[in-house]
Amino acid sequence: MADNTHSQAQSKGVQTTGHVWDGDLQELNNPLPVWWTYTFYATMVFALVYWIVYPSWPIGKGFLPGMNTVTYVNAEGQEESWHWNTRAKLLFETQDAVKRQKPYYDKVAGLPYDQIAKDPELSSFVVSAGKSVFSENCAACHQAGGQGKVGFFPNLTDDDWLYGGSYEKINQTISKGRRGYMPPFGESLDAAQVDELANYVFSLSGGKADLAKAAKGKELFHSHSGACFYCHSDDAKGRQDIGSANLTDKVWLWADVPGQADDAARIAEIRKVIVSGLNKGVMPAWEGRLNAQQIKLLTVYVHELGGGK
């Protein structure tokens, strides 16, 4: 047909659409280029092949499944085939990727934590794989480099650990999650007492506090009416089994002490926490979302971020 019209056009000259504008303006009615016509026919042939190979036409309550199949391993560990669909293909690709990564993950699973960090090949795997898991799942709160956010989420790159910095403790924190809590003291203590306590807490990490107030605050801290020592312990260094903060170092999470311009504002920040307490510091449990190997990778990654304990 294409050849026919082509030769027609050649013998009779190209036809026009028949309209004439302004006396001499005509529109040529050229036939479609031959390459275009055949490409069009080729797409029809492609569609026919596609119908046969892939799921296509609906029939009653089912559909033509197509001849293409995907083979994967089912929950019983047996190979199974199903007609091609994106879910089957994904299952195959996931299992294939697991197979290829297995040598590394087997090594990670089999070795104790400290050995992983020492093995140069594995530790570079942990850094790259751990980093990608960290970026997607942890960075939203702990920030891209693990530096955290004062007032919200702990810094993972320093030496200070609320719940413990050993591999086992980090693994537990990631798997099971955490929930921070400090009762509010705004009602049980009066404003002067809160101020004395804040001065004492500020002095613990070397801040320039009012010494007279700090001395009174110290008494209150260790008394049963203040009762701070119940959780933060006698030496104010906190207890990692309940996640109470170490008050003697310069690391601050809830009170934004480093962000304030002068000592009065720093102490005011501490007062705020004492008055209203804390009912935040929630870390979600990752057990269901990440698998055991990913959590082990992350544990090593986070441990290396902060130099661990």
Binding site: P55, W57, P58, G60, K61, G62, F63, Y72, N74, A75, E80, W82, N85, T86, R87, A88, K89, L90, L91, E93, T94, A97, E136, N137, A140, C141, Q143, K149, F152, F153, N279, K280, V282, M283, P284, G288, R289
Partner: protein, 248 residues
């Protein structure tokens, strides 16, 4: 029959062109869309999917009001890269009570189909108030008014009744309530009972304390409650992956 057929006849006859174009388009619709209503494999048969509680449902209304769907999809496609980033691919069953569904075909922000439980409530609150304070490179606008606005709960019953007309099994009477107890269990059925909607909404906001402030129910409470339930209803550890493969 086609010996003297010229395509020009169609092209120069507007009425004929219109009829034939409509015929061609409706064949596409009939073949691609209509069968989905009859195929038995379209919606997977999985446990756990339930209608939203009154508070979550109001959160969803605000999600739509603020146009979150223009940047966030709620559909994880069955590709490996998406599964690695967002989690298990979405099932049709998971949005069967969504009217309208929030699948979306364009992402500026990440997919939210499984954001539930991924971050803490306080992260969501802070992130909604000022996204760049949590994610410095974010281009998401601030939604600080969610925390300030009290949630309008005056028409919660009407909203549920409207959804009930579309087929969401909220119960309006005892008979329907008993049917829900059978289908979803008593604890869930209670949250779906329209006469108790307001009581349930306030109770969930109080218990969940989503915005960190128990003194009132804010729009933030509702939005965070909604975000925290997204993608959490189906327990995939109890489903064999090949069973889902066979639903296609």
């Amino acid at each position: 029959m086609f010996k003297n057929f010229k395509h020009e006849k169609i092209e120069t006859n507007a009425g004929l062109l219109l009829v034939l174009t409509m015929l061609a388009v409706s064949i596409g619709g009939l073949v691609e869309i209509a069968p989905l209503f009859f195929l038995k494999d379209t919606v997977e048969n999985v446990d756990g999917v339930r209608p939203y509680t009154p508070l979550e449902s109001r959160g969803r209304d605000i999600y739509i009001r603020e146009g979150c769907y223009t940047c966030h999809s709620q559909m994880i496609r069955p590709f490996r890269d998406e599964q690695l980033r967002y989690g298990h691919y979405s099932l049709a069953a998971e949005s069967k009570y969504d009217h309208p569904f929030q699948w979306g075909s364009k992402r500026t922000g990440p997919d939210l189909a499984r954001v539930g439980g991924k971050y803490s409530n306080e992260w969501h609150v802070q992130h909604l108030i000022k996204p760049t304070s949590m994610v410095p490179e974010s281009v998401m606008p601030n939604y600080q008014w969610l925390q300030e606005n009290k949630l309008d709960v005056s028409d919660i019953g009407d909203r549920m009744r409207a959804l009930r007309i579309t087929g969401v099994p909220y119960s309006a009477n005892d008979e329907e309530y008993q049917r829900n107890v059978k289908q979803f269990g008593e604890a869930v059925a209670k949250t779906l009972h329209i006469p108790d909607a307001l009581k349930n909404l306030v109770a969930q906001a109080q218990e969940g304390n989503f915005d960190g402030d128990r003194s009132s129910v804010s729009e933030m409470d509702a939005v965070v409650a909604y975000l925290q339930v997204l993608g959490t209803m189906v327990d995939f550890s109890k489903i064999k992956p090949e069973d889902l493969v066979k639903f296609r």
